[in-house]
Symmetry: C3
Subunit: 206 residues, 3 copies
Amino acid sequence: MFFQIVDILGTIAFAISGALIAMNKRMDPFGVLIIAFVTAVGGGTLRDVMIGIEPVSWMRNMTFVYVIIGSAAFAVVFRKRISYLRKSLFLFDTIGIALYTVVGVETGLVAGLHPLICIAMGTMTACFGGVLRDILCNEIPVVFRKEIYATACILGGLTYFLLLQFFEDRNYLFVIAGLVVIIVRLIAVRYKISLPTLYKKDEDIL
Amino acid sequence: MFFQIVDILGTIAFAISGALIAMNKRMDPFGVLIIAFVTAVGGGTLRDVMIGIEPVSWMRNMTFVYVIIGSAAFAVVFRKRISYLRKSLFLFDTIGIALYTVVGVETGLVAGLHPLICIAMGTMTACFGGVLRDILCNEIPVVFRKEIYATACILGGLTYFLLLQFFEDRNYLFVIAGLVVIIVRLIAVRYKISLPTLYKKDEDIL
Amino acid sequence: MFFQIVDILGTIAFAISGALIAMNKRMDPFGVLIIAFVTAVGGGTLRDVMIGIEPVSWMRNMTFVYVIIGSAAFAVVFRKRISYLRKSLFLFDTIGIALYTVVGVETGLVAGLHPLICIAMGTMTACFGGVLRDILCNEIPVVFRKEIYATACILGGLTYFLLLQFFEDRNYLFVIAGLVVIIVRLIAVRYKISLPTLYKKDEDIL
């Protein structure tokens, strides 16, 4: 129950963030709805399709469909005042990636995949909605360029599997992994920590 | 039989539209063929993969493969004269999205999905070939920015499920839903109706 | 055994090429790793998902995961000196697309698909990792614009099915098909042969 409410808060944050960026790009209402959808469910859809869980999750749970449509409508109606919500949305978003990471890791575990693949699935669930959003908006995905975002998800996933060596209760471990994601992200944003950009070569090799 | 001919006309229109845009982008013949393919079958492929119908439809029906290859070749050979066909192609394209919408809705129904998801599948089948085409050509998908296009598909899908409350014969309903798509699109283009672009914010929130 | 080593060499070349292009785009280390991954396994992933082989191949074979992570790390560490490897990498890459083509054709055959679809699967396996890499880096895919690259894969696939009319031993045919891919690509690069760009129209039709 608690998890489900948090999951819905995360979905709301993702959908609103997608809708805002779509409006920035001067899309029409249909485009705004699609981008909201893709941001919220894109990562999980990729994960499900690659693992073979079909029809993909959101097609079988209408709650999320309604929440996303409602969030997109909310973002459109209150687009001028939404900056007051900036802090709440950032918090929802951070909680969202934590929960999406945990859901992705768990989905990988249920499918019997290797721990490294499970961590990849968790990171993909949390981050690839944003990647698809940026591709549809014709941008280089922001997650590849700045901010500790995916790194927080990877660290959360690693924590889970490290602790699994010592503890058995998976539910607690999921909570701890999620908290690691949240704390790493909050610290990174608070202290403006980001991964370094690597050397820019002048030309390609291949 | 009638349906199949219309379906092929739609596929031809989509493939030619893809080939023309690829030539606009100065792609080589291989690129032109791929973009023609993606435009014609991309939406249905996404739908099949997300529902779990695999191998995806076009891999099991060589008619479409031959039609697409032929259409791309036709577009390449007659690229200088194809503007005479402008009106026919627009008509084929409009018939195409109507039929693709109906096929998508039906595929969702057969998979036992919720009506809203079926409408989404219909719209995806009709519109996401063009979305993928625009992504491969490095453009913001045109369907998100202008013209009543996806909206026509959504209205067609809604009509189907509204009438399903009152009538039973699904074949007639499919025809009516397809006609709604065609009429909405023709009226929108004739009177230059489009959805409004929403407020442009100066910066992102998340 | 021989095949597996060649396959790994190809994967290394793809992963390094992806990592270099990601560094060119000033991505952070996480972005570099993802692009390396997508370049190396993207084509096979698309193929598996469209045919319905899930979980997709790389999730079930950790060797490739380790090889890709190692290659990306290598590319990051030696990014300033990697131009000395230019020729080796080009050779690995060429061997890589030959082997990926053969693997893709074989996967299609095992799934009982039509020869034309098998050739498409081979070409997709070899080329679409690079296509996805370019999309994530916000470029028009290079494979659609220049160089005999996909064409070599298509010719290799055609050779396989032509010879299948006369010979029975599939293993030999795979080797021959792979050699055709390599030779066509080497000749094309050596003599700077490329497919012609087609006529650029001034405006779209549809």
